[in-house]
């Protein structure tokens, strides 16, 4: 007791963790969600790293979260790979979001091979982004994916159930999506920055769902729907959510 230890020695020995020390952020890739970009230390997805997305259930906007990024990458003619997706991607839905399907490769892999295939794709360096839905992934296998993403300079997204939140993860970024009471994104871990305490509001069914309404498309559609009684009376699908409830109400009152 009483010995004086120079602070600089302690710091140099790296025995003391300094809170708030800003790690120089690498150039991230924009997520396409300005509110999310604003809180992430890299200003977007951490480059060449693993991002883990945790969900309570399918269909709460997990794809809308990444689709702006996928649209940007595929339009730049860079391949994106989906490994063992839980459902078939709806080609028209993805195209409506701007994804170039010619650059979207889907890999059907059984449970044993999901992680292998993901690692191969990430490590190859030929893929811009790899999305995987592993059902059994532990800390070690995720670390392998993180290393592979770093080797191949690719974005890795792993979608998992939110019960895995309790387990530690080597992912550079962990996001949890919640749907209730309103859709929001919780940043659970972000390398190089402090975790924000507030959730980020998130609008999974936003404008753009029905963009690019082409005249030609309408005509072709009309030809197919000769027997559609609702063509004139039924309102067209909601362009965005703000108008959606009112549309539903109108439906019910009718």
């Amino acid at each position: 007791m009483g010995t004086v230890v120079a602070l600089s020695n302690l710091l140099e020995a790296r025995q003391v963790w300094r809170g708030g020390a800003a790690v120089p952020s690498e150039g991230g890739q924009s997520t396409g969600w300005p509110l999310l970009d604003a809180v992430l230390p890299a200003g977007g997805w951490p480059d060449a790293s693993l991002t883990e997305i945790l969900l309570p259930a399918d269909g709460i906007g997990e794809l809308r979260l990444v689709l702006p990024t996928l649209a940007r990458l595929t339009q730049g003619q860079r391949p994106v790979v989906l490994i063992a997706p839980p459902y078939a991607p709806c080609a028209m839905g993805w195209r409506q979001q701007g994804v170039n399907l010619q650059q979207l490769e889907i890999v059907a892999a059984d449970e044993k091979h999901v992680l292998w295939a993901t690692e191969q794709c990430l490590r190859s360096g030929g893929c811009a982004a790899v999305l995987a839905w592993p059902r059994q992934a532990d800390d070690r296998s995720l670390r392998r994916l993180q290393v592979a993403a770093d080797t191949g300079r690719a974005l890795a997204f792993v979608f998992r159930d939110h019960r895995h939140l309790a387990n530690a993860s080597p992912a550079a970024l962990r996001l949890e999506l919640t749907a209730l009471p309103q859709p929001s994104i919780w940043v659970r871990k972000c390398r190089g920055g402090n975790v924000p305490t507030q959730p980020i509001p998130f609008e999974p069914l936003s404008a753009g769902a029905t963009r690019a309404e082409s005249r030609q498309g309408m005509e072709m559609r009309a030809a197919h729907r000769a027997g559609d009684m609702h063509e004139s009376s039924a309102p067209r699908f909601a362009a965005n959510l703000t108008s959606a409830p009112s549309l539903a109400e109108r439906e019910e009152s009718r």
Partner: protein, 466 residues
């Protein structure tokens, strides 16, 4: 005209050695059973004192442990034709001479660079394939052949310098008719220069026309009379393994050589291969066939090897393998993929095609695919695997996940949008009449669900707005 000649002094031995990972003493033997002679010996056998022409019994007295392989003239000829296929990428005029390949190079120079550059490439190709060689260039094929058998790397580009280079060549190396080669030295004529200065009519009287023809061909005064090599349209190669192989891992080395040869052959032919078969031959004419298929024609050695290995590793061997055969009947044209000049990918990136073949080899032929949308309004028919996208873009919201088969949905809390009536399909008997809605479930999921027209119940889930 300028011809290059590649002589292959150790063709038979190299053909055997290149399949072996180890380099223990090894000799090729030939001759009648009671008087077997060594016809070729590898470096470690020569270091032990074995040499060509030695009797096998003498060799056995010198060295206790060495491998003997019977000399196979047909195999040597096969290798020579294979190398002619490799040389074919440098010239369209390739011909075979005894233990040598000649190719016309003056017309390829504008494409492949001048002779020193082409020679470097040729040498590195041959070295990579594991064949020792000597190369020379001269205005006539026979002169190139003579010069290559005298000294490696000689290049004479004009007829005058060729004449000078041929002068000191000893007659034994001039590839002249045997009768003349035997008789002329006894007359005091020991080198080509002396022979060329002899009066022609005297030579004709003593040795007949064959000698004069040979001399005229050598100097280019007469057409070379070569039969040009035409690459075959199918590949059927066979490697006999030195012992019975019981596990796949031991086949990897010969396989790598074979696929490497195939790649060299294909680039000589400027073609690719999309499908080929590996036949693992067992005893009693039994065989296991392994089909290797790729999505597009390929000719890169790495891609071919990896595709073949991936397929081979899944095979359960029913019996030990004696020999390996590679059969490729269909050799389609090959179009190299376009690349960006400023490639943004990491330097060691694997081409996507190669990655795809690797995944397919392990996961199955149909494991990697793309979706394309169609103009069919029925959700079940709205997309097809590997279809090109049709330009039509649906103006109504479509989900991002689509269930292959609709299933009942419970716990719908509210309707967000709809209905959208889909009533169509009369043209192929797949009629459907449904009202599609976007609904929210109790868990906050956004679903694309349908029910019977005019109803608001009995929801069937068809997709998720994920």
């Amino acid at each position: 005209m300028l011809w290059a000649c590649i002589t292959l002094p150790h063709l038979a031995l190299d053909g055997v050695l290149r399949r072996r990972p180890d380099d223990g003493p090894l000799v090729l033997v030939d001759g009648p059973a009671h008087a077997r002679c060594i016809v070729a010996a590898n470096a470690s056998a020569q270091a032990a004192g074995l040499h060509i022409g030695q009797r096998l019994t003498t060799a056995q007295a010198l060295l206790t442990q060495f491998e003997t392989i019977p000399y196979d003239a047909a195999a040597a000829e096969r290798w020579q034709r294979f190398l002619a296929g490799v040389a074919y990428r440098y010239s369209s005029q390739v011909a075979l001479l005894p233990h040598a390949i000649v190719l016309e190079i003056s017309r390829s120079q504008s494409l492949l660079g001048d002779w020193p550059k082409m020679e470097r490439n040729l040498r590195s190709d041959l070295a990579a394939l594991g064949f020792r060689h000597r190369i020379a260039a001269a205005p006539t094929p026979h002169a190139a052949h003579v010069l290559a058998s005298v000294r490696d790397g000689q290049a004479v580009l004009t007829p005058e310098t060729m004449r000078r280079a041929l002068d000191p060549v000893p007659l034994q190396k001039a590839h002249l008719p045997e009768q003349a080669t035997d008789a002329l030295p006894r007359m005091g004529i020991r080198c080509l220069g002396q022979l060329l200065r002899m009066p022609r009519d005297g030579l004709q009287r003593r040795f007949g026309t064959p000698l004069l023809h040979a001399v005229d061909r050598l100097l280019g005064d007469m057409p070379a009379g070569l039969e040009l090599y035409v690459p075959p349209d199918a590949v059927d190669w066979r490697i006999e393994l030195s012992h019975e192989v019981e596990n796949i891992a031991a086949l990897v080395f010969p396989l790598k050589r074979m696929t490497g040869d195939l790649a060299a052959y294909l680039s000589g032919r400027d073609g690719g291969v999309q499908r080929f078969a590996l036949r693992l031959e067992h005893r009693d004419r039994q065989a296991t066939d392994v089909a290797v298929g790729m999505l597009a024609p390929e000719r890169s050695a790495d891609v071919l090897f990896e595709a073949a290995r991936g397929r081979l590793e899944q095979v359960q061997l029913p019996a030990p393998v004696l020999s390996l055969r590679l059969i490729a009947d269909d050799l389609p044209g090959f179009v190299p993929a376009g690349r960006d000049l400023f490639d943004e990918r990491p330097a060691n990136a694997l081409p996507f095609e190669q990655l795809r073949e690797r995944l397919r080899a392990r996961l199955g032929d149909h494991a990697v695919y793309r979706w394309g949308s169609t103009i069919d309004p029925r959700p079940e028919h709205s997309q097809r695997i590997a279809a090109p996208d049709e330009c039509f873009l649906e103006p109504r919201a479509r989900p991002t996940w689509l269930l292959e088969r609709p299933m009942p949905l419970h716990g719908v809390s509210r309707v967000l949008a709809g209905p959208e009536r889909v009533e169509t399909g009369w043209w192929d008997g797949g009629d459907m009449r449904r009202d599609y809605y976007i609904v929210e479930t109790m868990h906050g999921q956004r679903a694309w669900a349908y029910c019977a027209p005019g109803e608001r119940g009995g929801w069937m889930l068809h997709g998720w707005f994920a």
